[in-house]
């Protein structure tokens, strides 16, 4: 089987679901890594590893979705529920700009009181005050929620958000794009078709997007493969995914609990993502969930990007996982693995080589 899959990959053919499942269940870690590495070398022959200087701003933790894997959300009216003031948000972005950041990732809970007017006003003001910052914000679940709260269709909502200054849409909330798994871990969140619909619409509007996957909770290996196949198909049909970002469920402080994925499982799923998603140019290693050591090793298992430096991150930290990384550490980590560090924009244009 490995020989057949290797030949297919060498000829530039995509692997099918059965082969992907075999790699995940039966493949040797290093053999799967080797296949992923060969694809990474083909797609990124320059031996560069990129990252973006960014900040997550979580504007609210009030969320009606109440996903069982999440340690971040609070009920409306809870003692530690919050909604950031606009001025606080602006101050956070100013700090990002001072430190040379280029990407703002605003993400929050599904707040019942925030409609399109709130986001239009906020995004317009951000554009006026920080024209050089890429507003890479919200997620399909939030866009869908804003449409519902505002009595609009999803395409109308997305078009208005874009007009107000939303530049690109990150692919959070994908979790596992299989509804039987979603029913277990996030029953109130949009289904996989809802997620896909927003991403199709964003691409149609000319916005770039990313896709993510959260694994290590309740899914089966078959579900991981299905997820990857669905992302690949969406991309084939005109998707605008610049990157795929798999990360692992963090069980701390969550209703779902359990153990989460191990290091070997992470590297295997990462490598499999590179092998299946040859039509998505970039693959990010998740130092936020894996730590610097494993994220560095991930560069040999298909990853060519380390995501953001994240001056601020609250969601994963709420689950008790709080790795931190400065720009200097990021550069040292990349050099230590024998690659050239490149600071990039959200759209993967190189800004500076180190």
């Amino acid at each position: 089987m490995l020989k057949k899959i290797t030949e297919k990959i060498n000829e530039g053919e995509g692997v099918d679901a059965r082969e992907a499942l075999w790699l995940l269940n039966e493949g040797e870690l290093l053999a799967v890594g080797r296949l992923a590495d060969s694809i990474r070398r083909k797609l990124h022959p320059e031996r560069c590893v990129s990252f973006v200087v960014d900040r997550n701003v979580n504007y609210t933790n009030v969320c009606e979705s109440k996903c069982k894997f999440c340690a971040f959300y609070r009920d409306h009216g809870a003692a530690d529920a919050y909604l950031l003031d606009t001025e606080v948000i602006m101050a956070k972005i100013a700090e990002l700009v001072e430190q040379g950041g280029t990407q703002l990732l605003m993400q929050g809970g599904l707040h019942p009181g925030l409609d399109i007017g709130y986001f239009e006003k906020l995004f317009r003001e951000i554009k006026v005050r920080f024209p050089g910052v890429q507003n890479h914000s919200l997620s399909p679940a939030e866009v869908t929620h804003i449409a519902q709260v505002s009595g609009l269709t999803m395409p109308e909502t997305l078009a208005r958000l874009k007009a107000a200054g939303l530049d690109s849409v990150p692919g959070g909330g994908a979790e596992i794009l299989v509804d039987s798994v979603r029913a277990e871990i996030s029953p109130k969140k949009i289904g996989w078709q809802g997620w896909a619909a927003v991403m199709r619409e964003a691409a149609r509007l000319g916005m770039s997007t990313t896709a993510t996957m959260m694994f290590g909770s309740k899914e089966r290996p078959e579900d991981i493969v299905e997820h990857l196949m669905r992302v690949r198909t969406l991309q084939e049909e005109g998707g605008s995914f610049t990157a795929f970002i798999p990360w692992t469920y963090q069980p701390g402080n969550t209703e779902l609990g359990g153990g989460g994925a191990t290091g070997v499982e992470y590297l295997k799923v990462l490598a499999l993502s590179r092998i299946v998603l040859t039509n998505v140019p970039n693959l990010q290693a998740s130092w936020v969930t894996q730590g610097a050591k494993l994220a560095q090793v991930a560069l040999f298992f298909g990853a060519n990007d380390l995501g953001g430096t994240m001056l601020e991150e609250n969601v994963v930290a709420a689950a008790g996982c709080c790795f931190r990384m400065s720009r200097e550490e990021m550069i040292e980590l990349i050099c230590g693995a024998g690659f050239t560090p490149v600071r990039r924009t959200t759209l993967y244009q190189a800004l500076e080589q180190y």
Binding site: L30, T262, G263, V264, G291, Q296, F300, A337
Partner: protein
């Protein structure tokens, strides 16, 4: 010219590689190829089996006259936080561990200025009194040198007395890095690398097995690491007394030595892989999860490693230095970690005899 392919051929034919070749491997940028080579050597020797043991660390005192600069564990006797366990406390900890299924007590501590040699004999006796089947792996070569001074006896007689009192084998600590110029900066008060090796030779002659270690990722060069491994390999050729090699990743966080941010994941895996390939006379290479973290330790099972250490109840030395791994790992977690790496968990005793396959 040295090439990776030539080294790989040599290794696969069963021949020994030299120091220049080991250095070349350290600089080889294809991490996966290095891992595959180390894995093939390991699987030729140990198959898919991965050892762990159920043990407890007892660090009886942190008061130490050596005051090594890289160490965050030691205190002087009058410093806040200095402690010395009573034999009653030691017995209680050993008893608790034994009840929970531990087969080994691992004892290392500081070089305490005021304790007589008899204390150490009693310490061993106390642990042995819990159960004659409980193995006591105790005292690094550095402590042995110190105990011999206390006892005013030559090393062989000191070892005999300790053996009679219940010493079962020795851990591999205190080797640090043998290179004298680096050792002078790290731990000027500690016995030299040569003295460490001399004592280990006598330990092996006394019929005791020992482990071996190397502290890396501080001020040493890669050549220092290779030279360290060379000296271990040469002694192993003579005595065959080393059971395992354990590279220890330097933890800079609370150390006086300011050298970088600690080892990288790639460096950890590369060091383990080269050790497996170069140390052809060592049966076991251990990834010490306390220092490496569980994730890298698990991944290391594909880079030549066949031993994941123990459940390690209450480790203090690495954690005082800032290691952020948990203080203990249950038997179930270790078994699951090994299984999820596609390997077969085997519980061993201290002397690497198989106790149970999971």
């Amino acid at each position: 010219m040295t090439t990776f392919a030539a080294i790989a051929d040599k290794v696969r034919s069963g021949a020994r590689i030299g120091e220049a070749e080991a250095l070349f491997l350290f600089g080889h940028d294809d991490l996966l190829a290095l891992g595959e080579l180390a894995q093939s050597v390991n699987e030729g020797r140990n198959g898919r089996r991965v050892f762990f043991n159920v043990n407890r660390h007892i660090n009886h005192t942190n008061i130490c006259v050596n005051r090594c600069r890289f160490c965050a564990f030691y205190r002087t006797a009058d410093q806040p936080g200095a402690y010395l366990m009573t034999l009653g406390e030691v017995r209680e900890k050993a008893q608790e561990a034994f009840t929970q299924g531990a087969t080994e007590i691992h004892v290392v501590g500081g070089l305490h200025p005021d304790l007589p040699f008899e204390f150490y004999l009693e310490l061993l006796g106390t642990i042995r009194s819990v159960s004659p089947t409980l193995h006591v792996k105790a005292f690094t070569a550095v402590e042995i040198a110190y105990l011999a001074k206390l006892a005013k006896l030559p090393i062989p007689e000191t070892l005999e007395r300790l053996k009679e009192a219940g010493l079962g084998s020795l851990p591999g600590g205190g080797a640090e890095i043998f290179a004298p110029n680096v050792r002078d900066q790290l731990c000027p008060e500690k016995i030299s690398g040569q003295a460490w090796l001399d004592i280990m030779e006598q330990v092996h002659h006394a019929g005791l097995k020992s482990n071996s270690t190397m502290l890396y990722g501080h001020l040493e060069t890669v050549a220092d690491r290779v030279d360290h491994m060379r000296q271990l390999r040469e002694l192993q050729d003579k005595t065959g007394g080393f059971q395992v090699f354990i590279p220890l990743a330097f933890q800079p966080e609370h150390s006086e030595i300011k050298a970088g941010n600690g080892t990288s994941g790639v460096d950890d895996l590369r060091t383990l892989a080269v050790a497996r390939i170069y140390l052809d006379n060592f049966a076991n290479i251990k990834a010490y999860w306390v220092m490496l973290g569980e994730k890298i330790a698990q991944v290391a099972l594909s880079f030549g490693v066949n031993d994941l250490d123990g459940t390690v109840v209450e480790e203090r030395i690495g954690h005082d230095a800032g290691a952020d791994s948990p203080q203990t790992m249950s038997r179930d977690s270790i078994v699951s970690l090994i299984r999820k790496a596609g390997r077969i968990p085997v519980e061993r005793d201290t002397l690497y005899r198989e106790l149970r396959t999971y």
